[in-house]
Amino acid sequence: MDAHGIAHKFGDHVDTDVIIPARYLATQDEQELAAHCMEDIDADFRKKSKDGDIMVAGANFGCGSSREHAPIAIKASGVSCVIAANFARIFYRNAINIGLPILECPDASAGIDDGDEVTVDYDTGVITNVTKGQTYQAEPFPAFIKDMIQKGGLMASLKGTEE
């Protein structure tokens, strides 16, 4: 379970209103949400991004509304992983719960530029900037989180565990 893609770089305090504006929240359709992902902060994001690409941001990513539509939109748009200096707490929890891998790593956040080719090794937490030849160390996921992400989220990971 690893990620390999091109980085799309964003700044600090990327809020869930720009990740998925409220005017699109009346739907729960993942592809429809994905179609509008990031459009208020980068109107071309969906045109530029490819499956497997990696989102890289500064501090407090995902602040604001608790809408789970935000990590859903990111995941459904094909983004494989979000790396930020740190995350707002509700977003962090939501992302893990729906099986979107997210890593806190201030060094990677500072070192990676838009368009850099990046790989992530989830087992070791090592983030490699292939373009610049740099590596950064994030805290690897504990086993239960890795399990949850592999199975597609909290609910899926609970299946079969009921007594």
Binding site: D17, G64, S65, R67, E68, A88, I90, N97, I98, M155
Partner: protein, 419 residues
């Protein structure tokens, strides 16, 4: 080492003598909440996992408030999905058009949250109930879906910032100005993952509505929750509303805080947060050059009767400046009715405003007052992010009801003393 107020509530709900910051716990929940945007996603999760019962139908609250009354067919379909779920499980506290209100005003009003209780809601402003001395925090729909089934959830025990309040507020200054000032001091991530625990002699001078507004916006500093101690003002508010046993928890004298922030309420000015972050705090007196197109007075932050009264006191005998649209939204049916009986609706209509049924509508650019490109709004809501109330090139200035009303009359950002 002692515990903070939040830690004590969490320990009690986890069945533990003691908890420490950073500890992972599983805690029982007294109430779980969702709305017409977040609940449909929770239902998807609940059903996908094959759950067939809710943990306690009297401890689930469903409030149709964001896009209700239904703004379009998709919103109607979301509310319908919630309504069907509520019927299926005979949910006691399902609030639809006609009896609903904005969730974070409605739940305290109905006595659904009491001191010492633990509440999660799939809405970030669930932190509002800290004003009553409860632990409450926002979560996503998956957490809601799981909690609906089992009645508990996991938490990382938060560390805390102690906000030591002294003094009393000046005329026209309110809880909104206090929280905007505090966020201006510590930033939108200044309390990330932490509790904001309010304390000090100044607490007793704050009304329950000031406290609700302050805790409501704790999330805008990144906090997990905000919380006030339980005192006579709390007791007076919950009397006759919370008809069950509740517990007043107090922080231990030796509780550990990451930091203490001293705030003299007497120094707080009427404050406006400029676009596009709630931390961009400015004095309302600095805004004469910022002309506006709309004011919104309402929301889970400032839609209580006290807020309506503060707005009416400024608007009385005045009219909005030419070209300014005024949208007033009492947060609940009860507040709406009180506004009629107290003559506030006449004051609003005479001033050229409209008065809407309860809805979150314009706060999140849903309906009932979206902004076009280039438009500016002074709003008593809670977020001024890019595109929050409509077009990506519109601007939201956050303020108190008194400042929003004064700005509407002046046609630019104004201090209530100026009109």
């Amino acid at each position: 080492m002692g515990m903070t107020m939040t830690q004590k509530i969490l320990a009690a709900h986890a069945g533990l003598e003691e908890v420490r910051a950073g500890q992972l716990i599983q805690a029982k929940l007294d109430l779980v909440l969702g709305n017409d945007i977040t609940f449909p996603v929770a239902i998807n999760q609940f059903e996908a996992n094959g759950f067939t019962s809710v943990f306690d139908k009297s401890r689930v609250a469903m409030v149709m408030d964001h896009f209700a009354p239904n703004k379009d067919i998709k919103a109607a379909t979301g509310c319908q999905k919630c309504r069907t779920f509520a019927k299926r499980f005979d949910i006691d506290n399902y609030f639809d058009v006609g009896e609903m209100g904005i969730e974070h005003a409605l739940l305290p009003e109905k006595g659904l949250v009491g001191p010492g209780e633990a509440v999660i809601g799939a809405d970030s402003h669930t932190c509002t109930y800290g004003a009553l001395g409860a632990f409450s925090t926002g979560v996503g729909s998956t957490d809601l879906g799981a909690a609906l089934a089992v009645g508990y959830t996991w938490f990382k025990v938060p560390s805390a910032i102690r906000v030591n309040l002294t003094g009393t507020l000046k005329p026209f200054v309110s809880g909104k100005d206090v929280i905007l000032t505090l966020i201006g001091m510590i930033g939108v991530d200044g309390a990330r993952y932490q509790s904001l625990e309010f304390a000090g002699d100044g607490v007793k001078s704050l009304t329950i509505f000031d406290r609700l507004t302050i805790c409501n916006m704790a999330i805008e500093a990144g906090a997990k929750n905000g919380i006030f101690p339980v005192d006579d003002i709390t007791r007076e508010y919950v009397a006759g509303r919370v008809n069950r046993d509740w517990t007043a928890y107090e922080a231990d004298p030796d509780a550990e805080y990451e930091q203490t922030i001293d705030l003299d309420l007497g120094t707080v000015e009427c404050t406006v947060a400029y676009p596009h972050l709630p931390e961009n705090a400015h004095s309302a007196r600095e805004g004469k050059d910022i002309t506006i197109d709309q004011i919104v007075i309402g929301s889970c932050t400032n839609g209580q009767l006290a807020d309506m009264q503060a707005a009416a006191a400024v608007l009385k005998g005045h009219h909005l400046a030419k070209g300014v649209r005024g949208i007033i939204i009492p947060a609940t049916e009860q507040v709406y009715r009180d506004c009629i009986h107290q003559g506030l609706v006449d004051i609003f209509l005479d001033a050229g405003c409209i008065v809407s049924t309860p809805t979150c509508g314009p706060c999140l650019g849903g309906h009932m007052g979206c902004l076009a490109a280039g438009e500016r709004c002074v709003s008593t809501t809670n977020r001024n992010f890019v595109g929050r109330m409509g077009h990506v090139d519109s601007e939201v200035y956050l303020a108190s009801p008194a400042v929003a009303a004064a700005s509407g009359i002046a046609g630019h950002i104004a201090h209530p003393e100026e009109v």
